[in-house]
Symmetry: C2
Subunit: 171 residues, 2 copies
Amino acid sequence: MLEMEAKARVDDLGLVRERLRALGAEFRGEERQEDLYFSHPVRDFAWTDEALRLRRAGGRSTMTYKGPKMEAVTKTREEFEVGVDDHEGAAAILERLGFRRVARVTKRRELYGLEGYRVMLDEVEGLGTFVEVEKATPPYRPEELVALLKRLGAAEGAMERRSYLELLLRA
Amino acid sequence: MLEMEAKARVDDLGLVRERLRALGAEFRGEERQEDLYFSHPVRDFAWTDEALRLRRAGGRSTMTYKGPKMEAVTKTREEFEVGVDDHEGAAAILERLGFRRVARVTKRRELYGLEGYRVMLDEVEGLGTFVEVEKATPPYRPEELVALLKRLGAAEGAMERRSYLELLLRA
């Protein structure tokens, strides 16, 4: 329910893959993810720092709510995710309730496991390449997340706290 | 997506079961359904004649949106339903989005199939016993639905257009 994550823009995912291999990370798969973001009927999610997403990936569909970020450096926030058996049906329910489709984020994601962290290598359509690290169980130590990003080759100053949605909407 | 339904209060479900048998209805199963209804953050669903429900039945959970009734006698309305793999997670997402749990309707339901209709025998906790008939494919002919209720033993004047939720909130 609580999730801590941090990401950084990287120029060369190949270098990150080499670091992952050297550190003994476990490759867990890759998939194309199509994320559909919704606006709230009366709240401005950009202001309240929340997000509502329908993700389609690997033949499955999930509905996710992300709460406001609770900490400055990384992105620790409440997250609820449920699988839904009908992507278009779920979108229709949200639209009837007054939510609006605001943007679609499409990416190719590789997933790795490393020292209790999830590591994701993302190629985001229209945005570029990123490495993201994530932890969904305590202890939550932001500094370790940042240190891990650096060990994976992320440059000082390449940390990106904005979401892909925010980046796309500003682009 | 369009659904036409009508229901009537009946005193004796045993008599309805006999009629169903005599008409050659097919018994399709029975289950206990626990329906959790939500209010909208800014709309008054009682006024807009909509409903948002999470149903737990037979180990499965579904999220359902019902649109305003479009016709006077029966209840023809738009309906979207999706299965969700985590009942409590779905409720948490809705609550974080500003929806509130307003009431829980619990019933034992027997389901039959008859001449292209779904026939439901309901024992609703705190409300009594009802027979409901439903059709989710064209043609939509309200008068046939009402006629079917009568053939199943519903008395003239026993038709109930209000939902179980409305009836429970008024009780």
